[in-house]
C-alpha cells in the first residue's frame, strides 16, 4: 500500500471517528440509512477503500467490491472538499464515476448528507480538513485557527 493511499485511508477513518464522537446523532442516522450496504471508494491510484458500518471501527478497510463503487481522481476529491464541485456535477461530467443500483446509491447519498451535517457540527473536523490539503497529508494540525471544513 503506498503511503498516499494509507494516509487517505487513515484520514477517512479519522473523519468518520470524529463525527462518531462529536456528532453521534448524525453518525447514528448515517449508519441506519446505509445499513448493510458497503461502498468501495477508489481515489486515483491509491488502494481501494471499503466502507462498512455494520461493524467497526475500523469502518475503512481494504476491499475489492462494494454495493456502491465510486472512482475519482485525487484532484477531483480536492475540488469536492473545496466546494468547487458537487457530487451531481461530478457524476454528470464524469469526474465522479459511480456504479451501483439506484436505490443503494440513494441510500448512500442520504447517509452522506447525514454525515456532512454532523461534520459541520464537529469542532475537530476542520483541522483534519486542513490536514488533507497540507503537503504530504501528514502535516500536523497547525496550532492557531483551524479552517472550518
Amino acid at each position: 500500500m503506498d503511503s498516499g493511499g494509507q494516509s487517505l485511508s487513515t484520514q477517512l477513518e479519522d473523519a468518520l471517528a470524529i463525527v462518531a464522537r462529536e456528532a453521534p446523532l448524525h453518525f447514528a442516522r448515517m449508519r441506519r440509512q446505509v445499513g448493510e450496504l458497503t461502498a468501495l471508494i477508489r481515489v486515483g491510484e491509491a488502494p481501494p477503500m471499503k466502507l462498512l458500518f455494520t461493524e467497526g471501527p475500523p469502518w475503512v478497510r481494504p476491499g475489492a467490491t462494494g454495493s456502491v463503487e465510486v472512482s475519482l481522481s485525487r484532484a477531483d476529491l480536492a475540488r469536492l472538499l473545496r466546494g468547487e464541485l458537487t457530487i451531481d456535477e461530478g457524476i454528470v461530467s464524469g469526474a465522479v464515476q459511480v456504479r451501483s443500483q439506484v436505490d443503494h446509491l440513494l441510500r448512500w447519498f442520504d447517509g452522506l448528507a447525514s454525515w456532512l451535517h454532523g461534520a459541520l457540527r464537529s469542532p475537530s473536523l476542520p483541522a483534519l480538513h486542513h490536514q488533507f490539503f497540507s503537503t504530504g497529508q501528514t502535516t500536523p494540525v497547525r496550532p492557531k485557527g483551524n479552517l472550518t471544513c
Partner: protein
C-alpha cells in the same frame, strides 16, 4: 434647514469603547440549546478602480452545560472583487481570549484592537490578509433590542461610517486604501439559528468620502417573511444621526430572484449540502420611508452573492444561510438637514432558513 453639529473625534473616542465592547453576557438563559451569540461585523469598500468589498466577521458563541462554560470564536474573512474568496477559522478560548467590556480580541495571528480612536484590524487568513485602521466618523447608536419571543432576542449597535486606511492582499494583488469608507455593527443575544427567523440588512455609503450622507436599514421577520418583527432605517449627515424611521413608516419590497451560478460557500463542505444556486436573494430590493418631514428611498440591485452556512440550532439536519450580497445601491430623499442622493457599491445580507 436644521443644522447639526458633527460629533468630535474626542467624543467618538470616548463613546466607542464604552458602548462597543464584547458583552459576553452569559446568564441563566445560556444553554447548549440556546447559546449566547455575539459578533462584530466590518465591511470595507474597495477603491473605485478595483471595485469590491471586504467583510470581516468575528463571532463568539458561548454555552453553559453541566460540563462547564464553553466558548468558541470564529473569524470569517471574505472579499468580492472579480470573484469571491474567503475562509472561516475557528479558535479555542485559549488562543482567542475575550474580555467582557473590551473591544480587543486576538484570533491567532489576526486581531481586532481599539487604539487612539480607531479600530485596528489585522487579518492573516488563508484566503486573504489585511492591515486596516478604521476611524469612526459618528457616535455609535444606542443598543437596540428586538425580542424574538420566549426570552430570546437580538441587540445591536451600529457605527455606520468609518474612514479606512491600510492594505488588503487578495492573492498576489495588494490593494491600498486611503479614506475608503467602511461600516461596522456589533450584535449579540440569546437566540437559536433556524428558529423561524429571517432578516434583510444593508447600508449605503457614497463613493466619494466627502459626501456626508449614510443610510442603514434592517428588517427582522419570521422565517417565512410574513410577519415583520422589527424594521428600521437610519440616516446620518456628517456623522450625526438625522432621522430614524421605524416600523409602519417603512415599506420594503423584494423583487425577482438573483440567479447565476452556484455561489461561493463557506464552509466549503456545505456546498455538498446546498448543491443548487438558490439562496433566497432577490434581484432587487427597494425601501421607502416617510415621516412628517423626511423621506428616504433606497434601491439595491444584486450583482453577486456568497453564502455562509450555519448549522441550525433547531433542526440537526438543516442549515441557516447568510447570503452576503454585493450590489449597487442608491439612497435619496430629503430631511430637515437637506436633500441627498448617494450611490455606490455596497453589501446587503439576507438571512434565510
Amino acid at each position: 434647514m436644521t443644522t447639526l453639529l458633527p460629533p468630535g473625534p474626542g467624543a467618538i473616542a470616548r463613546a466607542v469603547p464604552r458602548i462597543d465592547g464584547w458583552r459576553c453576557a452569559v446568564d441563566a438563559r445560556t444553554t447548549p440549546a440556546t447559546t449566547f451569540k455575539e459578533w462584530m461585523h466590518f465591511c470595507v469598500a474597495l477603491p473605485r478602480e478595483t471595485p469590491g468589498h471586504l467583510l470581516i466577521n468575528v463571532n463568539v458563541t458561548e454555552c453553559r452545560s453541566p460540563a462547564g462554560h464553553q466558548r468558541q470564536c470564529r473569524l470569517i474573512a471574505m472579499a468580492i472583487r472579480d470573484h469571491w474568496r474567503g475562509s472561516i477559522e475557528t479558535f479555542s478560548p485559549n488562543t482567542a481570549p475575550v474580555r467582557p467590556g473590551a473591544i480587543d480580541i486576538d484570533l491567532g495571528d489576526s486581531s481586532v484592537r481599539w487604539r487612539d480612536g480607531a479600530f485596528e484590524l489585522e487579518v492573516r487568513c488563508e484566503a486573504l490578509s489585511a492591515r486596516l485602521r478604521l476611524s469612526p466618523v459618528s457616535l455609535p447608536t444606542v443598543a437596540t433590542r428586538v425580542s424574538l419571543g420566549g426570552g430570546q432576542g437580538i441587540e445591536w449597535v451600529v457605527l455606520p461610517r468609518l474612514e479606512v486606511t491600510g492594505w488588503i492582499d487578495l492573492g498576489d494583488q495588494r490593494i491600498t486604501l486611503r479614506r475608503a469608507l467602511g461600516y461596522h455593527d456589533h450584535n449579540w443575544g440569546h437566540f437559536r439559528w433556524g428558529n423561524d427567523l429571517a432578516w434583510e440588512w444593508g447600508f449605503v455609503n457614497p463613493v466619494d468620502a466627502d459626501d456626508p450622507w449614510t443610510a442603514v436599514f434592517v428588517r427582522i421577520s419570521d422565517g417565512a417573511r410574513i410577519r415583520t418583527l422589527s424594521q428600521a432605517a437610519l440616516l446620518w449627515h456628517e456623522g450625526s444621526l438625522v432621522t430614524t424611521f421605524q416600523d409602519r413608516q417603512i415599506r420594503m419590497d423584494l423583487g425577482g430572484i438573483h440567479g447565476g451560478q452556484r455561489p461561493f460557500t463557506l464552509p466549503a463542505a456545505a456546498s455538498l449540502l446546498m448543491p443548487g444556486a438558490s439562496s433566497g436573494v432577490p434581484a432587487h430590493f427597494s425601501l421607502e420611508a416617510h415621516s412628517q418631514s423626511d423621506d428616504l428611498f433606497v434601491q439595491f440591485a444584486s450583482l453577486s452573492k456568497a453564502r455562509v452556512a450555519i448549522p441550525s440550532d433547531v433542526d440537526p439536519f438543516r442549515l441557516v444561510v447568510l447570503n452576503e450580497t454585493f450590489g449597487h445601491a442608491r439612497a435619496h430623499g430629503k430631511t430637515s438637514v437637506g436633500s441627498f442622493d448617494i450611490s455606490g457599491l455596497t453589501m446587503m445580507e439576507f438571512v434565510r432558513g
